[in-house]
Amino acid sequence: MSIAAETKSQVAELGEKYKYGFVTDIEMERAPKGLSEDTVRYISAKKGEPDWMLEWRLGAFKRWQAMTEPKWARVHYPKIDYQNAYYYAAPKNTPKKQSLDEVDPKLLETYKKLGIPLHEQMALAGVAVDAVFDSVSVATTFKEKLNEAGVIFCPISEAIRDYPDLVKKYLGTVVPVTDNYFATLNSAVFSDGTFVYVPKGVRCPMELSTYFRINASETGQFERTLIIADEDSYVSYLEGCTAPKRDENQLHAAVVELIALDNAEIKYSTVQNWYPGDENGLGGIFNFVTKRGDCRGKKSKISWTQVETGSAITWKYPSCILRGDESVGEFYSIAIANHYQQADTGTKMIHLGANTRSRIISKGISAGKAQNTYRGLVSVYGKAKNARNYTQCDSLLIGGDCGAHTVPYIESRNKTARIEHEATTSKIAEDQLFYCLARGIPQDEAVSLIVNGFCREVLQQLPMEFAVEAQKLVGISLEGSVG
């Protein structure tokens, strides 16, 4: 059955319960347009936050006013008018849901259209999904099972109320309020996000996952995520983003902080396919994200895997601070830029502790008139004896009008460090395409196959149940790229 037909039949089944049209009809509650101290107070009040949180936000806002937007990335975009945007939007009438059955069927339908069947996914993969719809969590599932294990997995707004000590202890300790323009902005106006705490010795019994979704027009999304893995614990978290088509440019400035204590491991995977703009470069999301993990404990490990296919502008450097001795940081990345997309992404591996290791595998694919930059820093401090890094940056070009750029920074203050860097740039060869065509594989599928092969090392890092979706996404984002 086609998606449209499926939707129709499901709507028919729902009968009276389905009063509205498709997603856009959900009534929104918004903060007044623009950004001021009042906006910050409005958001904090809407969230029912304690005073300390409001003070934290106001401090960030004050700081932000004195900052200027960074210009060093290889991306070009019209000036953002921060006063001409909404900083808070929440669907009305969405009290907390105990089960998916209570969720507005329209939301579920949207997910379905995006190829994210919540029900099926949960049933098949045992995934707990904390669905974020324009800033407010509408469904939190599998809570009980996680409760049993002692894992806290909830909207950060809830954590601020229910677990203030944990939040106070860790929030802003990896990405300080003053870190950078976009992170500071996020600190002032973040709307919601995810909080995870895995207690000592606990291996989280399931993959945790949140789907973010921008729906309201002209609404910036300011997600805030905080994940803490206590000693000897393990957690794997997947963040997927999808956005419907919009003509206005929308600002997205998320902050993600990860903290791994002694012997703990955090695996954080992202599939990002925000609206990239149309084939003429009109519209699309501006994605300015600060993601950083702190391997605070001995032998801790943080692994970032990202599949970035969306957004008009991507500015994102998921990083690891390797503070604990023998800690390990990993960064696996696929960045695809087609049409007029611009991606400037990479990582920072900061080696502070002894015997720390890091591994960077970056696969950049450029097509159309897109520009794709890998920007990375490997820094070894004086005390980080025997630090090791391996970096591999591969770029694949499709067509003659796109660009691939590699900007690796390497700093070493310790003679015992071993740092390796490999980089390649290649094109999809005509003979590879012809070979596929001659075996009956149509062009778009052939490109998808070849690119998926190019990205294999990274795709393999994704949790199984998401790898398939990511592979499809790789193909979809490059459709029509070979003329």
Binding site: A438, P442, L449, C455, R456
Partner: protein
Amino acid sequence: MLEIKNLHVAVDGKEILKGLNLSIGAGEVHAIMGPNGSGKSTLSYVLAGRAGYDITQGSIAYNGEDLAALAPEERAAKGVFLAMQYPVEIPGVTTMTFLKTALNSQRRARGESDIDAVGVLKLVRAKAKTLNVSEEMLKRALNVGFSGGEKKRLEILQMAIFEPKLAILDETDSGLDIDALRLVAEGVNALRDPSRAMLVITHYQRLLDYIVPDRIHVLAKGRIVAEGGKELALELEAKGYEHIVGQAA
């Protein structure tokens, strides 16, 4: 099945085939022999539909249909198969994945349903055995790090899986030692069928000891200059191309 009439083909504006005529019926195996630069590979590519090989004159009818009007993937779905002289490497794509993708693409184009992963695996395994294609090879990235013999065996394996109506083998013997050659030839012979036509392109007579053709055509300077039965290969081997090409000129 295949009817080529007065075919002229240019590559980068330079004419390579200059009025080629060839007719192959179902169940027949024809060989094209010729010296380097005679246009053998050009013929194979133009039949498979490679971009950059422009037909400037003449026609190719395949089961009565204008082959030139079909995209390469459409030709594959309709049963045209080219075993390539230089099979390409596709890093990161396992051989098994490639076979499954190709098979199902062809089936979809014909309006048939997909075969699931288990079904494809069964099919491939059954055919792989006789061609001595190991499980391990199927798990490796397509042609990456394969020896010359492994690459050619994989080409024939694909032919066995796709079951084409018209199979073109472009210098399948090149780079093979005698044992590998025998194995490949046996694979090809096993696929001889009253409903299938084959065009074997080769520089040397040696391959034709194993794959015995019904007809041999000698290609030189873009034209067929001599034709005959299987004994023509022996004559070529004994006297060399110069002799026959010279006679025709």
